[in-house]
Amino acid sequence: MAKLSLMFEQKLVKEVPIGNRPVTIGRSPDNDLPVDNLAVSNYHARVYFEGARLVVEDLDSLNGTFVNDLRVERATLHDGDSIWIGKHHIKVDATADTAIPWDSGRKTAAPKINETMVLDTKVRRDMLQQAAAMGERSQFSPGRMKMPTLIVLNGRVDQKEYVLTNKLTVIGKSPMATVRLRGWFKPRVAAQINQRDDGYYLGTGAKIPVVNGSPIPGPVRLNDGDLIEICGVRMNFVIRE
């Protein structure tokens, strides 16, 4: 059974098994693992199973929770990991029936950039946070859901508006098209919208769409409020929040 061992220096202070209930860690004595130190918050962190994965979660503690030297908000734990809280550390024994040792030495090294490498979830969160702190320009706010939508102004199609939820949105007469054009001589695929990392791109199909009055030369990134004209249909691209 998986267990946590609270250590101070090299001495074992307390050991608790991890069952179905989360193991709570903090200065308050009602924690499963009470840690008597002023650097530790009353309810500091907790450890629990999420499926087969053992997870540590920091409970907004003042001084933070560290897994193998990295500050984490939430991280997957592996056998042999150490959780550091103040001057105490907690050894993770995740062995169930089969031992899955974890090579904890390799993730402390700075990434070597030439070789393709995979980031640990912990390292990754850290790097993204650092990057986010540097990138003042970030328009992205994780709290808001963005809903890119096509609003039909006029023309013969099957709906008044379309929320773009797929990687690929086909505008055409085909029964498989998302935006279905009606009427004679309409192409099966008149144009397409491709969701990419930095936004939505309108590309040509059998027709060249017109965006804000000009025919597009190739795939163009759509901006909030753009006016699209294709096969006699006029649509507004808007990003709803």
Binding site: G51, P111, V118, R137
Partner: protein, 271 residues
């Protein structure tokens, strides 16, 4: 739908070994591409393990996809082949992870994986890492996968621009790959295909060297899939060939329905 396909893998101009693997399973219309990583020859081990596992599981599946290694089931209602693919990717991931646990010298080996499986007019896609799937349709190239790389994630979060991502020295840093953990998150997707669509799977050795308009142009100009794949590989090598390059091209033939299709094509022109 009739499909013709071809694939090419190449060492590139700089690397001393090819860590990419690919496979085309023609009777199934199954296309598998994997880019391995790890020291010595371990990248090859990882990528070929991935490719073998996917082929084995997809070939032997008879519509029984209830066995999953990991508890993370997707909430979406995917078709049977997509669910089989998901399971196959779980197995491939666990296989690589397990092998690296059993062989200490293989520690840290991993692989990307991009699989396309066409059943009827439906394309099932499973994807982990920074290899890519594209669709060329009516002359425009659409990217069907998102890279699981640090720079792509930064672009998605609006921290850097796609241009900055292309210049970043962090391009090789992946957030997801097979073999790093006992379980893996897999991107799954399904697409309706049209006659004359061209599916392209490629490793980052292509996309870092060759621009998308060039890829689109090559695929349009060369209708033989094998030759098109070779031309793209050649292009990547002309630009420096800094990494292994692997390309799979699958082209959906036009349905031939005699006079009816001729009539329809004709009506399309008048429009």
């Amino acid at each position: 739908m009739q499909i013709v396909s071809g694939g090419v893998t190449d060492l590139g101009r700089v690397r001393s070994n090819n860590e990419d693997s690919f496979r085309i399973v023609e009777p199934l219309n199954l296309f598998i591409l994997s880019d391995g990583m790890g020291g010595e020859a371990h990248g090859e081990i990882a990528s070929s393990l991935a490719v073998d596992t996917i082929e084995k599981i997809c070939s032997s599946s008879k519509g029984d996809a209830e066995v999953t290694l990991d508890g993370t089931s997707t909430s979406e209602n995917w078709t049977e082949p997509t669910r089989v693919l998901q399971n196959a990717v779980f197995q491939a991931n666990f296989g690589i992870y397990q092998s690296s646990q059993e062989h200490p010298e293989q520690r840290g080996m991993g692989a990307t994986l991009t699989v396309g499986w066409i059943n009827g007019s439906k394309l099932s896609l499973a994807h982990v890492g920074d290899s890519r799937a594209y669709l060329l349709r009516t002359g425009s190239l659409q990217q069907l996968t998102n890279d699981h790389s640090l720079v792509a994630e930064q672009v998605r979060r609006g921290i850097i621009t796609p241009q900055q991502a292309e210049e970043s020295e962090m391009q090789s840093v992946l957030l997801r790959a097979l073999g790093a953990h006992p379980e893996v998150d897999v991107d799954l997707d399904e697409f309706e295909l049209f006659p004359r669509d061209v599916l392209l799977l490629c490793s980052d050795g292509l996309t870092r060297m060759v621009t998308e308009p060039e890829i689109a142009g090559t695929l349009q100009a060369e209708t033989d899939p094998e030759k098109a794949a070779q031309k793209l590989v050649d292009l990547a090598n002309e630009r420096g060939g800094l990494d292994n390059v692997t390309v799979i091209v699958a082209r959906l033939q036009d349905e031939s329905k005699g006079w009816f299709s001729w009539l329809r094509r004709d009506s399309g022109k008048k429009d």
